[in-house]
Symmetry: D3
Subunit: 336 residues, 6 copies
């Protein structure tokens, strides 16, 4: 294999141990100035782009170089990739600023492998199956809110638990809607309209709970209120808006059933739901949500595992277990 051209674009995921890099732009996900035991300084950092991230070190650093690095920002890097304790590590030989406006830091955040536009279209298509006019009007209020639509397509579904990447929210929501479309017909006594609307909105508050411009973190309002209550407030405002526009009351029982579904979808008090599911629709959304989220955690735990010597991933706290990796039934091989 001939060595890759050092100036062609190389994503973090593509970089190989032993490879040299002459000029590549990466995001600095984290930085740290450390002193060696003989008094000299070095920088410990994490470089990243949409494809993944990697630890990096710059020897012979100085406070000035350190201060010039923007945390969460982009830089041109020169250096090489070493093998360190079985993992790759980037040794920085040089770095320089990026021209303002040349690159968008957001392009360097981890992202869904799917086409976000397609996911969003699938979400909208699924929502067209809602027959109840009031719920349809409410959903329309969100879908046609350009700021909401843009944020909804960018937001991660979580800071780190599952679908924790740009587009994760729309991907997770699409998955749930797809599930509901096949599961609802098996339980005709459950209102598909309420389930579809509930799925669309259940995590919509994440758009306000999380910041995801150049980093994934909680907003202050997100920490103080939580996405569950934020979403209920948002939905409440949209209902009032509809009332003002139509001059008709939004049906109170539909509104409170939907609010209840959102409030209770975590299914347990200790996970931040102030109510427990008390309707069939709330119960269905709770279990479908868990099913998709937990399967994503399993897939991510296996994909992110690097210890080829073990049949088990590291402990996954949210699953209270390590995951068994072997593809016993052969369902995970590229060509089945």
């Amino acid at each position: 294999m001939s060595p890759p051209n050092p100036t062609a674009r190389r994503s973090v995921a593509e970089l190989q141990a032993g490879e040299r890099v002459d000029d590549q732009v990466y995001r600095v996900a984290q930085k740290d100035l450390r002193t060696t035991t003989n008094g000299s300084l070095y920088i410990h950092a994490v470089i990243a782009d949409a494809s993944g991230q990697m630890p990096a070190r710059m020897w012979q650093a100085s406070q000035e170089i350190y201060d010039s690095i923007p945390e969460g920002g982009l830089l041109h890097f020169r250096g090489r990739v070493e093998n360190y304790k079985g993992s790759r590590q980037f040794i920085i030989d040089g770095l320089r600023r990026v021209e303002p406006g040349m690159f968008n830091p957001a392009d360097f955040l981890p992202s869904t492998p799917h086409d976000v536009g397609v996911l969003w279209k699938q979400v909208k298509d699924a929502l067209r199956n809602i027959k109840n006019r009031d719920l349809l009007a409410l959903v329309g209020k969100f879908v046609n809110d350009a700021k909401f639509a843009a944020d909804f397509q960018r937001a991660p579904a979580a800071v780190q638990l599952h679908h924790a990447y740009i587009g994760g929210l729309v991907e997770h929501t699409r998955n749930l809607l797809r599930l509901a479309e096949v599961v609802c017909p098996l339980y005709p006594e459950v209102s598909q309209d309420l389930v579809l609307t509930g799925i669309f909105l259940h995590d919509a508050g994440k758009v306000r709970e999380l910041a995801f411009e150049t980093n994934f973190e909680y907003t202050s309002e997100g920490q103080l209120l939580g996405h569950i209550v934020q979403c209920v407030l948002w939905m409440h405002d949209k209902c009032r808006e509809i009332e003002r526009e139509t001059g008709k009351a939004f049906p109170a029982d539909v509104e409170m059933s939907l609010k209840h579904l959102i409030l209770s979808h975590h299914g347990k008090y200790e996970f931040g739901s102030p109510r427990l599911p008390a309707t069939a629709e709330a119960i269905m959304v709770h279990y479908l949500d868990n099913l998709d989220a937990k399967l994503a955690m399993v897939a991510e735990a296996i994909a992110g595992d690097t210890d080829a010597g073990s049949n088990w991933t590291a402990y996954v706290r949210a699953l209270e277990s390590r995951i068994f990796k072997p593809d016993v039934m052969g369902t995970r091989q590229p060509n089945p």
Copy 2:
């Protein structure tokens, strides 16, 4: 002691074993048609007024009599009071309908011993100490909402845990405001304005969570959403209203700090708070609320205890203990 005049008004609390009653109006808090083992029917009921309640029985009853009794409604009663297993029991000899409009069923619900008007005035006086104009405006929106003010003065603070009587909410709120007035000066870094506003609103959602016209029970919205979220929604609407009226944004950090305080004031997820207190003000309201509520439970457990043979009340679930009754330090005797 000469027997009381059987036609003068006798409250449930005043009735003595052995006493005859010719014509008294009471509320039917509960009713039940039962068959005796020899096939005849009798009615088991609970009669009540603002002073308390008592079990009652009507022998030789019929389905017709039973159907004519309005649950939660008022009736004229004729009968006598017996001693049954150490407790009073009312034997119904006759009953007849109350003229519509003659009496207000609500007058026959358990009520605070205090003057509700005075309590409400004390609440308003305490709130006048708020200096922040935005919070003052918000409080004013509620205080000047005639429907809210009327309901707030009638609502119980709970269905049964503590202050579970007409006027209980305003009494409990008054108590907390009084506490805050003496405690806040000891902790100058805590915002008294936020604490006073938070206390005023922390249980205001009870007005919507509970129905208390002729009985104490949860509304459907109350069960589906809970008073915590109901209050946050209400407060949210009032803030928007202020914004529309003033044309100025309500300060976002003040609004979300207050919402957080309300959401977190139960202090634990399992008690229905979707957030845990993360500010000094939220912590203070949580502990003052507990202090007053738990002391009320102790007082009510002792007052409601009828077993003179024991030093201990029955087990009080919310306190996870029985309560020790002796007045060891002599603080409960008016004149020791």
Copy 3:
């Protein structure tokens, strides 16, 4: 409406208050001899058939009559239906023994409203989609075990939580297989073969855990080991049987993955799973199982609720909530 013919077959569900019955066979689900306060004896019993059950009383009873009633057995009844506290109650005027062999007590147990033969066929059809030959062989061992097949079609899915009626196990299993058929295609990395086999066997141990001949109760082995371990032992025996017949080892990784799925399908230690789900297939079966079981509990809670005056069912322990009854979205009464 003309009164029903007192000798035509009247199911328990059909009996109306006021109706007289001359000769009907019912099962005695429970019996109790009680003394009235004036010293005479009466019998309190519960009569039942596949359509439901009803409390019953026989006045002027004797120890001899009482002893002649077989608990869990059948009798001819003469009597009438009364209205007692808003519910029906059967007054027994006479009873006599059933000719041995004339009726099957099992026909008088509560039963699925579905055709058990159809359910069983649907289960077998779904299992034919399994492609892995080893799992297919294992499933065949059970399906072709006549005793197992017969028991599997009769067993309830639980003693009382959900699908607690004859045919409940095969109905619940059919539901889950139907769910898996639509959900698995959305998660191609999850082995549908393992999921289908796992669903078929996950509760198969109930056949041994429960007795359901004339009553629903735990067997001693069921209480000592539990259906989860009983099923793993059973499956283990079938694997060994296949090995003896084919002379080839059953693949160890497939066997232990399936055993793990069964052991962990309750999802929590406190529900009796000695392991927590550590594979995607185990997680999927756990959530689909919960989804169907909990929706059945909601439906049963609403169907079984008799208090027309409340929007809420009684508290359902397994759901940690009361259930909101109104059919807000109109999905439950298409054409009643």
Copy 4:
């Protein structure tokens, strides 16, 4: 700003990055001998005084130098303050022993900012409000025990949770007494005498549970028995002493009510209370104690936070939350 005079007394809190120090005495809170990767030795230590603490390093160290440093003891230091990863770090260039008796190591422990003598006087003043002669005698036994009084004024209120500094116990106790003085009048049925005595003694066992001469740590008896039981034993001894001196029995109900208050003041079994509060006084002390302790934790978390880039402190385990730092209502900057 001209550089500080290197020989004038500089507290740890005053030291600035870049500053040189010629001869300062600090306490060695911790020490560690480490090997650099090229084989030479260096010392990692923490230096401290009453004002705070700071990490320190001495390059080119030896086992001899290391052994000469007394852990928990005092040394003269020469060196300079560097900026390391945004925090100060002391580089030790030289050190030498302190003349025995010249300094008191205890003066170099973290201390309350308040005047301990004033706090103690405030405590004694508050206790003078006790009217019950027996409780007054008991309190007197402690107050007039010179060893107790001295220790009580020095002990921290905890090893690290809150008021974890010299004088912390008397400060926390003073705060609670001040709270009781304003709160008790609002609840006349609660015995102020019992509450004041209970507050004074509730944590008095800390004097025996903790060692705080040159370090804060648990004594062996403290770990084996806990301050709750230690205090009950101590109080028991004082009651017996009073009985021997007066020849009269200490009233048993008062004694056991007070013991109960102390045993139950943690409010939960899992926090080491062998009893749960069963009297109004025990409940009041429990909540006032929590209120002051938790507000102190909030204040300490904010004061100790160094990450100016975040609105949130690090997670505080005892509060089960991170704390929101912004001074939204402007109550924390009297003059900023």
Copy 5:
């Protein structure tokens, strides 16, 4: 079988259904005045003696008769034994007072089947194996305290969990000492002296926690402090007494190790231990105590079970299980 002589002493356990009783003395463990549905009064009571207890009814009663019955006291009874729902029931035809001083109510409490004097001697014999002089002195202080010795031989080990009968404490203690004598030699690093002393004292506080003169119930001090703390206080007093008598300090480490063992012997905070076992001796006593107590609960659950139709006892809360009754290995039949 000829009928028993109606005037000879018949213990409650001996009474047969159908038997008449002319004059027998029993204890009234409970009494209740109830009204029949036709207005007449009857008394529901429980009669008891050392051999067991039985429900009783007296028809045609009056308030006067009811008031004349001393709860927890003794009466002469005339009447007959009936079979009621498969259990015996005593029908009272007449009753009269017992001459004061003729009988001791305590003789009519449930009692150990063993000879209490023998048990006490076995306890003292076992304690003679203690070699440490200080522990021996401490044990002696208790053994030679005549009031303690008498109470210790009478006290039950619990109000209802296990060994809940007169002599239960000394029997349970004897069992544990016997266990320790055979187990300690297998763990020579564990101090047998400390274990024996700890066993002797671990539940000695029950003597003060419980009242057991005419009934088993908690004393007020018992409820406020608990036997664990009561015992530590008692032991503390005895150590001080020894010090006063010998003029020598009781070794502090031995005393605090023993106190720790007592405080921690329940092994969990939620069972009222303020400390968890931190020494080998504390751990040993905790497990031996559990072993004997839990085996006693199993034996009592099986012995007390009356449902011959089931292989399982009722649910035993302290064991979190029902107990499997069949004597599978034939160890419970004297002669199999």
Copy 6:
């Protein structure tokens, strides 16, 4: 003391700080390649043999040297022992491969100090006391299974909690049998046969749950099923084997009682027992198992503690406590 001969066999436990080693064989329990801050490489490793383990470093290492070291394998070492932060550290000056077949890596794992052959003989002797022929046959099936017997004598009792060394399982089992032999006679109603068999098998599944050839870790089957279920399956197979050989059914009640005992011996759901003990035998094995395991943890915590300056070991998670180290009663020094 003259220095030890550098070529004589020196166990890891014997090595002294300052000692030189010319040629010793140790196991590499762990290895790690690290980069110094000036770019050179060094190896961090842990060397071990049956006597214990020690950290080691090799300066001036290379990727080639690192790759040549077999993790879990043996090497000849040359180097010296240094004192590092109060602990010993091995500095590797050279290493070379071990001739294949010269040494057995298993000899270098931590091992019981006892003679395994003697322990095994004691186990077999104890089992000879079983009188029930069926249980005796079952036990014989295991004892006479050469592969089982060999593994049983090598397996550790746990990966790290207690008896985590070669021979730990047979030692722990021997201890429990010894306990049962002295305890069973005190509880004649408990079947000694079932207890002895249950003890023998309760942890026998560890042989399959754990791998212990060159390291202690869980097998995949061990993680997926757990030793409790593995043992029940194993025992099930042996029962079937006996049935095939004898042509007689193994008594079902004995088999299910034994399976229940094994399933429930952890005593709590959260410790992986799918059933809670419901027989006296299951309860006895549960407590004896805990007693021996917890006392072993105490002994190991004290033996493994290296901080001479503290009276307390580090926190032991499984005991939820630190352990008090002083040998207060002098039972741990053979000759003090």
